[in-house]
Point group: C2
Chain length 145, copies 2
């Protein structure tokens, strides 16, 4: 997405950071890849375009994207961080298929409201939350016991 790339350039500018071929290629690739991508996966994809780009630079660029608010880092149960482009301001939660790994997004305002109620009951101030449903997607549910 072009506007996202421009927002990233603005963030770099404002932080006094330099523009480089590597960053451009990584950021462009990131915004053109759908879904929830690991560092390794993105590195692999980026290398098809430019085999000289190192893992570390992908790691650092994803960190910048996260700091700038243009990406979210997610931890689903598989041990490695995954990143997704922040498209709208809308929060969403996830359904994760234990068989094929497909990640589906959803929003449910009723749940969000009830979470706030729960927090209030405990005098707790919510900063962020994580709601993940693990199980089997439409495709896989028939193939598994």
């Amino acid at each position: 997405m072009k506007t996202k790339v421009i927002e990233f350039e603005r963030y770099m500018e404002e932080k006094g950071l330099k523009s480089t071929t590597q960053r451009d290629e990584i950021v462009n690739t990131f915004f053109n890849v759908k879904g929830h991508v690991s560092i390794e996966e993105l590195h692999h994809t980026v290398q098809k375009k430019n085999p000289k780009i190192g893992y570390t630079t992908v790691y650092r660029t994803l960190k910048l994207l996260t700091e700038s608010g243009l990406a979210h880092e997610r931890q689903f149960g598989d041990g490695q961080a995954r990143y997704e482009a922040v498209t709208t301001e809308e929060h969403h939660d996830h359904l994760i298929c234990l068989k094929c790994g497909t990640i589906t997004e959803f929003e449910n305002m009723k749940i969000e409201r009830l979470q706030e109620d729960v927090a209030k009951e405990h005098g707790f101030k919510v900063k962020n939350h994580k709601l993940e449903l693990y199980g089997y997607c439409k495709k896989c549910r028939n193939e598994v016991k």
Copy 2:
């Protein structure tokens, strides 16, 4: 809890595993410690009773407890696994304080039901889920901006 220890012994028996002093001490300590404990914390506690017990054995025993369904492994954002005794069959979710680390438990049937609704809408079969609210507890919320 004595009944839990007996359930563990039954599981060991049924798996053809042997009973050892180390396992007994680790399991006993685990069921007498409240809350959500890391391997390192449990190891430290166990060592007060018996300094010869190694980290690895605590690790392996917690794994057995998890396999047997008597403990749950949890991942809150701090990078290390935490374990809690499964006391009732009741599921619960967590409030995690970002300042003092306190973990509070809650149950909310309305949320659970809505989760099922969401899953159904997507043809998804939920196996388990994770709902974590991160923020500041009653004690800490005033000390943080």
